[in-house]
């Protein structure tokens, strides 16, 4: 019974959302508003049970939640978790106009966290890592002579990287040879975007295939 109900609700909502492709209509509005309400609450509930309870309440006061969530019997309180609790409460001062400026302290922690982690993460994997990946021989040797195809490819690659980087130069006027290189760079970027777009089309179609298959199974359940 519950399964049939679930199947029907899901199928009807699927149709309601697809109807948006034709134009905005009351069915879509209904599905949209339901989805917004349910999903907002879903993430809040997940936040409570998978973050707030195990990572705050259980750490500060283990005995209080030992029945509710899985945790070791002999868990000891970890008092440094009082820090996020304070920041969290400071965040809520936004509800009180007079002291709402205190929420900036919590915001400052969040921003510091963002800046600190992103600085190192991108420095390592995207800056240093990509330079490392580019340091390969331009002329590729094969047994006996050198591989023409591979050599052309690696020349194209290195020219592409350099020119596309030149396109991103902000403080120098893009004229003359520099401008020509920058234009070549934007061409490389365009090929990149076209290629990635073309490659992705397929994955997007498969999402629809999945949905149509679901509707097919719903139809099959009726007959």
């Amino acid at each position: 019974m519950a399964q049939t109900l679930e199947l029907w609700i899901a199928a009807l909502l699927t149709f309601m959302i697809f109807s948006f492709l034709y134009k905005d209509n009351p069915f879509y509005k209904f599905a949209e508003h339901l989805f917004v309400g349910v999903s907002a609450a879903y993430w809040m509930v997940i936040g409570i049970w998978s973050t707030l309870m195990p990572n705050l309440v259980a750490r500060l006061w283990p005995s209080s939640v030992s029945g509710f969530i899985n945790m070791p019997e002999d868990a000891q309180p970890e008092y440094h978790f009082i820090i996020p609790a304070i920041f969290g409460i400071l965040m809520l001062t936004r509800l009180v106009e007079r002291i709402s400026w205190l929420s900036r302290w919590a915001m400052a922690f969040v921003i510091g966290f963002a800046a600190g982690t992103n600085f190192t993460r991108y420095l390592q994997s995207d800056f240093v890592g990509q330079i490392y990946n580019s340091m390969y021989p331009i002329i590729v040797k094969a047994d006996g002579g050198f591989a023409l195809g591979a050599t052309i490819s690696s020349i194209v690659l290195i020219v592409g990287v350099i020119c596309a980087l030149i396109y991103f130069f902000f403080s120098k006027e893009h004229t003359g040879a520099f401008g020509a290189a920058s234009r070549l760079g934007i061409w490389f970027l365009m090929v990149t975007f076209g290629a990635a777009f073309g490659y992705t089309v397929m994955a997007r179609i498969s999402l629809l295939t999945g949905r149509i298959q679901f509707l097919g199974s719903w139809l099959a359940s009726i007959f």
Binding site: L21, L34, A41, W101, F113, F168, V191, G198
Partner: protein
């Protein structure tokens, strides 16, 4: 105090996290992990602000009978039902001590029937939009657009049997022009060059922005001075 203290907090937290990757000693080495948990917790507290705002907006619409106010009732009812069922683990076999997403619970039922189906269907709209965007965007209007078009077209054809048949007759010497080979080459050489340059650029943008945040040069997130 209203501006200085936040700037100091940002500075200390940011620097500590950068130091942490060079210093494996306590207390630094655990900071990265602990601070992510701290962040998650602050975000959960903030849910109260977000959820409250959602209720306020839709509550106002209902009380003022503004446009589409009836649908706002759907949002409010959906929100409160899901919240109460989940937060108090009402309904279904596992009860208060079980997993909130346990099979058979009401929460899971609403998740499967409403959340999953809406999510998957919204996601699948992409199949349609990717088609309409291709139709509109892939036109040889300028040199740049032509390149975009050619690259996309070769890859698109290369991903279907069409590509195989179109150029399958090519002799050995011209094999590199065979469309599947050509599309592989585009992906692994020019695409790669572009991706790499984009990634290096992004890394620099993020490094520089992070630095400005840590040093307090960029502070628009703090809003105004004083008040």
């Amino acid at each position: 105090m209203r501006v200085q203290i936040p700037l100091i907090i940002t500075f200390i937290v940011g620097i500590a996290l950068i130091v942490a990757i060079f210093v494996p000693h306590d207390p630094f080495h655990r900071m990265n992990e602990e601070f992510s948990v701290y962040f998650d917790l602050i975000a959960v507290f903030a849910f109260i602000l977000g959820g409250g705002n959602l209720l306020k907006i839709h509550g106002n619409r209902i009380s003022r009978r503004s446009r589409d106010w009836k649908y706002s009732i759907v949002t409010v009812v959906g929100f409160l039902t899901m919240l109460i069922v989940g937060a108090f683990k009402i309904g279904g076999p596992p009860g208060l001590t079980g997993d909130v997403t346990a099979e058979g619970s009401w929460f899971k039922f609403m998740y499967d029937s409403v959340f999953v189906s809406c999510q998957a269907t919204m996601f699948s709209l992409l199949a349609f939009f990717v088609a309409s965007a291709s139709y509109r965007a892939f036109r040889a209007k300028t040199k740049e657009a032509t390149l975009l078009l050619i690259a996309a077209f070769i890859i698109l054809i290369g991903r279907t049997p069409l590509g195989h048949y179109m150029t399958g007759w090519l002799p050995q010497q011209l094999e590199f022009l065979h469309i599947p080979n050509l599309s592989n080459w585009i992906l692994s050489i020019p695409n790669m060059a572009g991706q790499r340059a984009i990634m290096i650029g992004i890394a620099l943008g993020i490094i520089s922005t992070s630095l400005k945040l840590i040093l307090g040069i960029e502070r628009s997130y703090l809003g105004g001075e004083g008040k």
